[in-house]
Point group: C2
Chain length 221, copies 2
């Protein structure tokens, strides 16, 4: 019909070099796992979506689990990289929080399948420790953010610092959970302005954080 070489137009496009094919397979697998979840995704689905046979898939990845792990690790690396960069770029802790939230919204928007994959499998120990690791790394990033300035403060006694570390550790799941929950909620409510959602999250989290970080207690009433 048309040009014979690697042309995009005719229905079939075949015979890619190894590395490129592998990349494509990873992308396709990410989408499938993200959309259906690990258990409902079959290797045939992935192969079909890549317009390729299942056997070829197995020439690139030894097993379903290995494929999943590889996909997941790429996501984890990407996301934690972005988060760390964002946190490190900001010196003010409020701006650090804002930056992290923005990273999450950005990522969820740009890579909805990857986001869905992560969210879906975060609490499933059955598919390997990679996602636990992501969660822990996120937690570490949070804790660092919370404590970096405190730790550098020479006026604080080690005892006071220890107390603060403990409180900070308790804050991590609160912040973590609200951020992820907000992003997921926003994805399901596209009519809501992203700016509002983002801003609300920043205010909500920073308010609780800042007051508690400074050790202030609640007013009694």
């Amino acid at each position: 019909m048309s040009g014979s070489t690697g042309d995009a137009s005719p229905g079939v496009r075949r015979r890619m070099p190894y590395a490129r094919r592998r990349e494509q397979l990873l992308q396709v697998a990410l989408a499938e796992f993200g959309r259906r979840g690990y258990h409902l995704t079959q290797m045939e689905h992935v192969a079909a979506a890549a317009q390729v046979s299942k056997a070829l898939l197995y020439q690139h990845f030894a097993s379903k689990e290995e494929l999943f792990v590889e996909v997941t690790e790429a996501i984890v690396a990407e996301l934690t990289g972005r988060l760390n960069a964002a946190v490190l770029a900001e010196h003010d802790s409020r701006e650090g929080i804002r930056a992290m939230i923005r990273v999450l919204f950005d990522y969820a928007t740009a890579e909805p399948d990857a986001w869905a994959l992560v969210i879906r499998h975060l609490d499933k120990p059955e598919v390997g420790p990679e996602l636990r690791e992501l969660r822990d790394r996120l937690g570490t990033a949070f804790a660092d953010l919370l404590l970096r300035r405190r730790r550098a403060d020479p006026k604080l006694s080690p005892a006071a610092l220890a107390v603060n570390e403990h409180r900070a550790r308790l804050l991590v799941p609160l912040m973590y959970g609200s951020m992820l929950s907000m992003v997921s909620w926003w994805l399901e409510h596209p009519d809501t302005s992203r700016d509002r959602a983002e801003q609300m999250a920043v205010e909500f989290i920073w308010l609780g954080l800042d007051r508690l970080r400074t050790g202030e207690r609640l007013p009694k009433a």
Copy 2:
């Protein structure tokens, strides 16, 4: 040997009346689903754990999915009931939040399998809409709590009220996510005092909530 009627002592205890058996199967299934998750739980596991044949299981429940749904619905009913009761019992919104958090901690402690089941499947559309419903009901309970007093306030114009409703809707996922995340985190860190965790959650959430509820903006710095 001993008493002839339904005696408990001899190693095997079989042949229970229909209703009791059904109850037992539901309990066992809850534990299995909670521990392994839907996909990794096989009907044979449930049957074996109940010391019963798979066929019997199918005389009580038409399918794996139906069994799962039945288990889930019971949990949803129980939890939302407790939450509603807790919220209704408190007139102060801060105490309402404290009450909800306490309900969640109580439930997660007393019924760890049920808790694990709910948390694990919250974001999995594949196993039916029951858990979405739970999430939405929790959300509704939150929103009600947030807005009940506001709605009753005659000094607020409808327009101001609408603005507040919108903000409240944005607050729901933040509160919701942080609560659930905190409870799950605490379950995995048994060395942490429950009172501290609970108190921290109350303070964190109420702080953000109260300030935003009153429409106050953040200080600029």
